[in-house]
């Protein structure tokens, strides 16, 4: 079948008729071919980063405390960052206040209890193994292991390394189950099993799924993979060409594989599945390719699709029915997933579910974030564009929608709703509430009631010019009209946060010991110009020219410890580049993250003081994890291998002379190639014997 057209319409349909016109109107042609029989649809996220260049840089990370009253220093209105790193470092230095910070910072607030990890997840935090990227389905990334702690972490040493054999962005998380370490790579999505009982953790087996090279061409933002999950003797993960595979954890033999979509439509899969009882929940990517997003539940034992819920379209497809009780009125009504779009546009609407899914077994609800609507050109799709850019709570067994909340109605900045919805229990105005904590791309730290979808709080954690807060009566973000694209077609400048948001996919961690949420994120703004685009299946459906730039202060990354009780930052570390790695925090009062210039760092989880760092070969954008090995000792693992959207300039060798490259991320990363090269290695650390 090598040369044959792929689908019945492929060459058949015609081809291009060009209309030469002088009209400025955007041409939008709905595809007329039948949708594929499966209900795959698909959205995704933005893109690739890239580019090289010299340039000014902020110094090494600079810690910055955020006293209760003062606006953050990062946020100065005035100007550019010093071309000189030292200057920044010294001027921002706040070491002085550090000692007092805890007491001072917190005494004044009415003493509320720290938010807790709910029992279903808390009881797993002391396990030796790490069996899913988020540690538990609450996605807290907190481990009770404390052999490595704030006193001895300075002695941490490399225990073993392993080359992943792939030089693309490595966003996944090392898993450890029964004395075996499992790691999935970027495309071609190798799965390696390393034997931790043997010296040097040698390879036990490897598995490479069968997939076409062409899949690489339709992945918006580097060919990443965000990890696997262990269940029932199998390692389960998604491959770039829309297939979920289960591999026998012992033998490395494929147990089942289920093909869920087609790359010919621009659909890919990059997210890490979430376990919900005897099912895994998966979602698609392709929001830059005009896919139609979906979430599916697959039976862990057989791989059979149990339910599918689309992100847009008629209620039936979205699984909106009797049980749907959204908190806010704008989500009530029939077929809003059709009506909140211009005619027919919901069919190529994006809304992928390429991010994190959390699961509360007590409520039996899965929380699935939904990605950006497509195309990015928002003028082409007047309306709220439901159900893109928000979150659904769904019954884990049936997929029925229970509530929905939209973080970005009529999204015009690529503010996907896919960042983690972390499950915590906390006291809110004297009442115990079951909540979701969501550090949103919009720049707000949302606290939602996970039973009802009510927004309890949405405080800014990043610089924001695109909106003016979230109205808690209606749940709606208050867009700044002046900044929105209009019919002049002019470039809109200094939109903050930029398209990847104040934070992208890179997952946070929460420590019940400190009450702090550790948020790796970026500080980027952008200039945006809408352009015409027509839908052609299998090609990008974007219609925007973006140029990103550093946010206020000039540093592009931040690592923020957020006090959930007070709803404000306790301290923030500034980094030269976006902090695109995940993070893990432990009962040893240490929190770990990596930087795109290749430093793996340990901080005191309470104060943010840097306690240890290790220089890796390539930049880090993966998810660190921790486990207790067969020798009884605690390890910390991380992958290097720069790439992803932010690192596409290096992973894809993009050209910095075109700032619009990789959906405009290149413009903000032109100097990355001066700091790091592509790579892909697993590192494991432990204390000396």
């Amino acid at each position: 079948m090598k040369t044959r057209p792929s689908s019945r319409h492929a060459f058949a349909v015609l081809v291009a008729t060009f209309v030469l016109a002088t009209s400025p109107t955007a041409a939008f042609a709905q595809a007329t071919d039948d949708p594929p029989a499966d209900d795959a649809a698909a959205p995704d996220v933005p893109a690739d980063p890239a580019a090289t260049g010299p340039q000014p840089a902020v110094g090494d990370s600079v810690k910055q405390l955020q006293p209760d009253s003062a606006p953050s220093p990062t946020a100065s209105d005035e100007t550019p960052p010093p071309g000189n790193e030292k200057g920044d470092e010294t001027s921002q230095d706040d070491e002085t206040s550090q000692d007092d910070e805890i007491s001072q910072d917190h005494v004044s607030s009415s003493a509320t209890e720290k938010p807790q990890i709910p029992d279903f997840a808390a009881e797993r935090t002391d396990e030796s193994d790490w069996t899913m990227p988020g540690k538990t389905t609450a996605l807290t990334r907190f481990s009770k292991l404390d052999e490595i702690n704030d006193k001895n972490v300075k002695d941490l040493k490399l225990a073993f390394t392993f080359s992943l054999g792939v030089n693309r962005g490595q966003e996944s998380a090392p898993l450890v189950v029964n004395d075996t370490l499992y790691v999935v790579t970027a495309y071609p999505n190798h799965l390696y099993a390393l034997d931790l009982t043997k010296e040097g953790a040698p390879l036990k087996w490897s598995y490479t799924p069968d997939q076409p090279l062409a899949a690489q061409g339709v992945a918006c933002c580097d060919v990443v993979n965000r990890g696997a999950v262990y269940s029932d003797g199998k390692i389960i993960y998604n491959t770039l060409n829309d297939t979920t595979v289960a591999v026998d954890a012992e033998t490395g033999k494929e147990a089942w594989r289920t093909k869920l979509g087609r790359i010919q439509e621009g659909m890919t899969m990059t997210m890490a599945p979430t376990l919900a009882g005897d099912k895994v929940i998966v979602g698609n990517s392709g929001g830059e390719m005009g896919i139609r997003g979906w979430v599916k539940a697959l039976d862990v034992a057989t791989g059979k699709v149990v339910w599918t819920a689309n992100s847009t379209g008629p209620d039936e497809d979205v699984k909106i029915g009797e049980r749907f009780k959204p908190f806010y009125d704008q989500y009530k009504g029939k077929d809003l997933g059709v009506k909140s779009w211009p005619a027919g546009m919901w069919k190529n609407s994006g809304g992928g579910a390429w991010g994190w899914v959390s699961y509360d077994p007590e409520l039996n609800l899965v929380y699935t974030g939904i990605g950006n609507p497509g195309p990015w050109n928002s003028s082409m799709r007047p309306g709220d564009n439901l159900w893109a850019a928000g979150v659904f709570a769904r019954d884990a067994d049936t997929g029925e929608a229970v509530w929905y909340y939209q973080t970005s109605h009529h999204d015009w900045n690529d503010y996907d709703g896919v960042n983690e919805y972390m499950i915590l229990d906390m006291e809110w105005k004297g009442e115990k509430r079951k909540v979701l904590v969501h550090p949103g791309r919009t720049g707000y730290m949302y606290i939602l009631d996970r039973e009802t979808g009510e927004v309890l709080s949405a405080e800014p954690f990043g610089a924001i010019t695109t909106s003016d807060g979230v109205d808690l009566k209606t749940g709606r973000i208050q867009w700044v009209k002046d900044k929105m694209p209009d019919d002049t077609g002019r470039v809109k400048k200094d939109l903050c946060p930029a398209a990847p948001g104040a934070k992208d996919w890179q997952p946070s961690a929460y420590s019940p010991d400190t009450g702090l949420l550790y948020v790796p994120h970026q500080n980027l703004c952008m200039d945006l110009k809408e352009t015409e685009v027509g839908y052609i299946a299998g090609t990008p459906f974007v219609g925007a020219e973006v140029r990103m730039k550093p946010g206020p202060g000039g540093h592009r990354g931040e690592f923020t410890a957020w006090d959930l009780t007070k709803q404000k930052a306790k301290w923030t570390l500034k980094e030269r580049f976006p902090v695109w790695s995940g993070t893990v925090v432990t009962a040893g009062n240490v929190v770990f993250y990596g930087t795109m210039d290749g430093w793996f760092k340990a901080l005191n989880a309470t104060t943010g003081d840097e306690l240890w760092k290790f220089k890796t070969s390539s930049g880090i954008i993966s998810q660190p994890t921790t486990w207790r090995g067969p020798d009884g000792h605690q390890y910390i693992g991380v992958l290097d291998g720069v790439g992803g959207w932010s690192g596409a300039i290096v992973a894809g060798n993009l050209d910095p002379r075109d700032g619009t490259a990789a959906l405009g991320f290149v413009n903000a990363m032109t100097d990355l190639p001066d700091y790091t090269t592509a790579g892909g290695t697993l590192y494991a650390f432990k204390l000396p014997d």
């Binding site: 079948m1 990062t74 100065s76 087609r262 010919q264 299946a537 090609t539 459906f541 959906l663």
Partner: protein, 203 residues
Amino acid sequence: MTYRVFPFVLAISLCLGVAGCSDQGDEENADNSAQSDTQSAGSENPPPLDQPSGGDVEISLVSIAPGGGKPVDQQSAAAKAAKGNPQAIEIGRQLFTSFNCNGCHFNGGGGMGPALMDDKWIYGSSMENIASSIREGRPNGMPSFRAMVEGDTVYKLAAYVKSLSENTKPRSDVKLAEPASISEKAAAKDDEGEIKSPEESGR
């Protein structure tokens, strides 16, 4: 003057890469509702390529050939006519947007597809090489645009693509963008006055 080209096309499923349109390697999948009909349907050959006005051309992908031979390197009249021709380049520029080439290659810097403005060519830098990349696709995800490029169109696109790598400033001239300059209010994350108070939520 700017006149615009709209693809009116668009009801097209593109084939990705020379591997053809079936997602090879996946056929054995059990659970796949959508696949079976696509398989039976697509057996006709793609429509024949309109001959470029220059007639048949043969083009190698590499500059080496064993045994002292020279790789074949022909150029059609259509390629010659389009190369460096400002009108052809301008039309090519518009087609580059209409066909969503810019979605993958942006303005030459690359993204999902490789950079086209640098001086590195995976599949050759000649007009015929570039035309062949566009017409037939390339294995790592360059779609085959054969069904969309009639007549000389492909050479106009090729002329534009080739022009991207000409007259570009040196990479070393690239400076990192200046930080956004925004109001203090927008930058101040902890400025509690700016955010509506939770009391209003009425619970």
